[in-house]
């Protein structure tokens, strides 16, 4: 029977797990298939910075597709090439080879005038906000429209609408230096959205903010995505930002995408060591010392496993089912739970004891549910 020291019962949402199985990141698709539903497509993008005597390969054969309406996160350590990647989207940087297609257009094949127009379809926010200190909040937000020479009345209406959206109606006549970091980023977001773009690029948008403000800004971005249907590509070195709002994630390491998939997939089954490292930075799954002590005196008829669950709390709990069906004792030694996009993401350390044969059958049953089960024994020492 179950002796639950911790009552974490997670339902296995089978449907969800099956659909988590995304295409492998190197999937070869025809160009036609590629385009369907995609907002941003990176096709074998390489970026080399030529320096005196040496050159830096910032991006190497990057393939990536961001679907319409999605929030796509790219994570990597400093110097991995994240900024280079995002700057290729709005032609701030020119790929050395390969191409980037945004909303069906390759910016590098357009005339200068067409490029400027296309850029109005791509908003961008920055780590250090990049606001004009000499202009009011109102003028800062209005800038993209002023540059596009829109009529005054339209500008006024649109700016006020966006200031209301980001919650800064009362700051229209303030100057950026009178605002807090979070407020400055709100101005940045309002400015980026004022031309009604389909795409929003975020270059470390929350990296200069404290955790509280970061949360609020991320929620605002989520709202941007939902209210305006804006496709968001964000780059960051913080896994918490990815966990908070992204649908898809790619891991960039030394200019290469080493892993990509849905946030669920990467968080539950990171394939590379670097992805696992990022996941561990936010998923509190360090096993307490007391449990390690238990593990060291492991006996033949006892096995300890780590089980990772994804799903919501309603429905039939897997462990109780196992305990009922097989003659094994299930003892939850440790459990932690993290929320991933409003869905609980459980991490259990479980001890099974009983006859070898029964334990094997129980495990097989669990494996069939497509939960990730790992014997933690190997982790010890």
């Amino acid at each position: 029977m179950i002796r639950t020291s911790l009552l974490i019962v997670a339902k296995l949402d089978l449907w969800q797990l099956f659909h988590m199985e995304q295409l492998p990141y190197k999937a070869i698709l025809s160009e036609k298939e590629w385009g369907i539903g995609s907002m941003i497509i990176f096709d074998q993008v390489t970026k080399i910075y030529e320096g005196k005597g040496h050159s830096v390969k910032a991006l190497q054969n990057v393939d990536l597709q961001v679907k319409k309406g999605e929030i796509y996160g790219v994570i990597g350590f400093s110097g991995a090439g994240k900024s280079s990647l995002i700057r290729c989207v709005n032609a701030l940087e020119r790929p050395s080879s390969g191409r980037v297609i945004v909303d069906g257009k390759n910016l590098l094949q357009l005339t200068a005038k067409e490029v400027r127009e296309a850029k109005r379809n791509i908003g961008m926010i920055f780590q250090h906000f990049n606001l004009l200190h000499s202009k009011t909040v109102f003028t800062n937000v209005a800038m993209p429209l002023l540059v596009a020479k829109r009529p005054k009345e339209e500008v006024r209406k649109r700016v006020l609408e966006l200031l209301a959206f980001v919650g800064l109606e009362d700051k229209a006549n303030s100057y950026p230096d009178q605002l807090s970091g979070g407020q400055k980023q709100r101005v940045g977001i309002a400015r980026a959205l004022v031309t009604n773009p389909k795409v929003l690029l975020c270059d470390e948008a929350t990296s200069a903010l404290d955790p509280e403000t970061t949360k609020a800004i991320l929620q605002l971005l989520k709202q941007v995505n939902q209210a305006y249907g804006v496709t968001i590509l964000m780059i960051t070195h913080e896994m918490s930002a990815i966990r908070e709002i992204c649908d898809q994630v790619a891991v960039l390491d030394q200019g290469k995408i080493v892993e990509s998939g849905s946030v669920f997939q990467v968080f539950s089954k990171p394939k590379t060591a670097i992805a696992a490292k990022f996941v561990r930075s936010v998923m509190n799954d360090h096993i307490p010392e007391s449990i390690y002590a238990l593990l060291r005196e492991q006996r033949e008829d006892r096995h300890i496993y780590r089980i990772v669950f994804v799903g919501n709390s309603a429905g039939e709990p897997l462990l109780s089912q196992v305990a009922k069906t097989y003659t094994v004792d299930v003892n939850i030694l440790y459990g932690s739970i993290t929320e991933l996009q409003g869905i609980p993401f459980g991490n259990l350390i479980v001890q099974f004891s009983g006859a070898e044969k029964e334990m094997k059958r129980a495990l097989l049953h669990i494996h069939q549910q497509k939960v990730t089960v790992k014997e933690v024994l190997a982790d010890v020492s």
């Binding site: 701030l92 850029k119 920055f126 000499s134």
Partner: protein
Amino acid sequence: MLVNQEQLLQAIWETVVMVGVSLIFSFFIGLVLGVLLVVTRKGHLLENQIIFTILNAGINIFRSIPFIILMVAVIPFTRLIVGTSIGTAAAIVPMILFAGPYIARLIENSLLEVDQGVIEAAQAMGATPWQIMTRFLLPEALSSLLLGITIATIGLVGASAMAGAVGGGGLGDLAITYGYQRFDTVVMLLTVGILIIMVQGLQSLGNYLARRVRRR
């Protein structure tokens, strides 16, 4: 005192005219050259190695010539433009050639101080190079630019006094011809005093204006 009030006022007026007129011209020359120096450099809006190299070297050459020598060296050019090589109008020509390249450097400096991120944001929103310069860089640099212009104006006050020594008129002329050559200590102290007040006043005005546009 060997100088009457009328002569003194006349000298002050001549100095103001020399400084004012040469400032206007050298400001426009400096603005154009300074902006070009910034945008043609490597990796900037309108990168152009050739223009940059020529401008950069040319400005350095002009700036390395002492004003007193510049004044003499450009006499043929001055004569060509104003028809004479002596007097207030003639002094203005070398003053412009002196201050123009100087102001170009000051403007270059102010523009380079503007955060690179501002250009990035402007480019991301599809601004043209002209818009980036006029709507983003120059307004952002305005405060620092005003301080630079103040320094240049004070430099011109000094240059005008030197120009006076070779017949340009103004306070410098007065100080040399009466104060120095005729040993009139009162005139000497008076002109120096007026110059000090001018410089102080200009610096305070510059600081005030720079502070007003700064808003931080």
